[in-house]
């Protein structure tokens, strides 16, 4: 009964193959996660904001709050 010869070559290459596949998977996962947690919500937030946006109503609210200098609140 002789022992099987242990694997003595290609250890680094084997490690590289193993870890590179994980590295690429994690980096693509990071990109997808960023896209769907930041990029797409931001685009949607801007689209939703302007879908319901009433510039006249917002302007009147800002005017009454006294934010503008060219237009004073209607009481003044």
């Amino acid at each position: 009964m002789s022992l099987q010869k242990p694997l003595m070559r290609g250890l680094l290459a084997k490690r590289l193959r193993f870890h590179l596949s994980i590295a690429f998977s994690i980096s693509i996962a990071a990109a997808i996660a960023f896209k769907y947690t930041v990029t797409e919500p931001r685009k949607q937030a801007y689209a939703d904001f302007y879908k319901q946006y009433d510039a006249v109503k917002e302007f009147k609210a800002m005017r009454e709050a006294g934010i503008f200098e060219s237009v004073r609140p209607s009481g003044e």
């Binding site: 990071a30 931001r42 237009v71």
Partner: protein, 230 residues
């Protein structure tokens, strides 16, 4: 305006700034992708005692790590060029305003119809009224109508300055003897702040820019009042 602990850009108030925001998100996504890849590889390489003294060359990996970065660069360049040309489009402006940098204030001229011009000095800290922002508010604001393409002609009287309003996505150098053109559309009413962005002396930080976007009829009333006061 910017707020304390802010990390990202200010909310966009013009279509171009919205596009810039989305492009930045796209580029940052690619940056995170590359950074996680490189960080993982570094950690994997420093946490092993395995070595290979006989590596010489490998055509396969050389091709991969040449083609992949080239593809990534194309992925960044295409939206970048798109937005670059978008910013340069001739968009038939409704109004032209000249912004001229001085040491250390801005002056604005609305000369399309009448000769309206005024200076815009920072409000000194000791003269701030309640609710005004320190080092940001000015005595006279540049008023523009909303949802109208505005052309800015930017120059300087003495040294280099730069007219910048982050939320409108505008930054343009003010060069003496030169007229630089920039354009924007204020998508919504509001007050938008910026600061001089080119070194121009001791008070570069104390010559801010304030743009007030109001509906057209109020802009017209304002400009008539300003002409009467002049």
């Amino acid at each position: 305006m910017a707020h304390p602990t802010q990390l990202g850009f200010q909310d966009a108030a013009s279509p171009v700034m919205e596009e810039l925001l989305h492009f930045h998100d796209h580029a940052l996504m690619i940056v995170f992708m590359i950074s996680t890849l490189v960080l993982y590889i570094i950690v994997a390489m420093v946490t092993t005692k395995l070595t290979n003294k006989y590596i010489l060359d490998s055509q396969e990996i050389e091709i991969i790590w040449t083609v992949l970065p080239a593809l990534i660069l194309i992925l960044i360049a295409l939206p970048s060029l798109r937005i670059l040309y978008l910013m340069d489009e001739i968009n038939d402006p409704h109004l032209t305003i000249k912004a001229i940098g001085h040491q250390w204030y801005w002056s604005y001229e609305y000369t399309d119809y009448e000769e309206l011009g005024f200076d815009s000095y920072m409000v000194p800290t000791q003269d701030l009224a309640s609710g005004q922002f320190r080092l940001l508010d000015t005595d006279h604001r540049m008023v523009v109508p909303i949802e109208s393409p505005i052309r800015m002609l930017i120059s300087a009287e003495d040294v280099l300055h730069s007219w910048a309003v982050p939320s409108l996505g505008v930054k343009m150098d003010a060069v003496p003897g030169r007229l630089n053109q920039a354009a924007f559309i204020a998508s919504r009413p509001g007050v938008f702040y910026g600061q001089c962005s080119e070194i121009c002396g001791a008070n570069q930080s104390f010559m801010p820019i304030v743009v007030e976007a109001v509906p057209l009829e109020h802009f017209e009333k304002w400009s008539s009042l300003m002409l009467e006061d002049a």
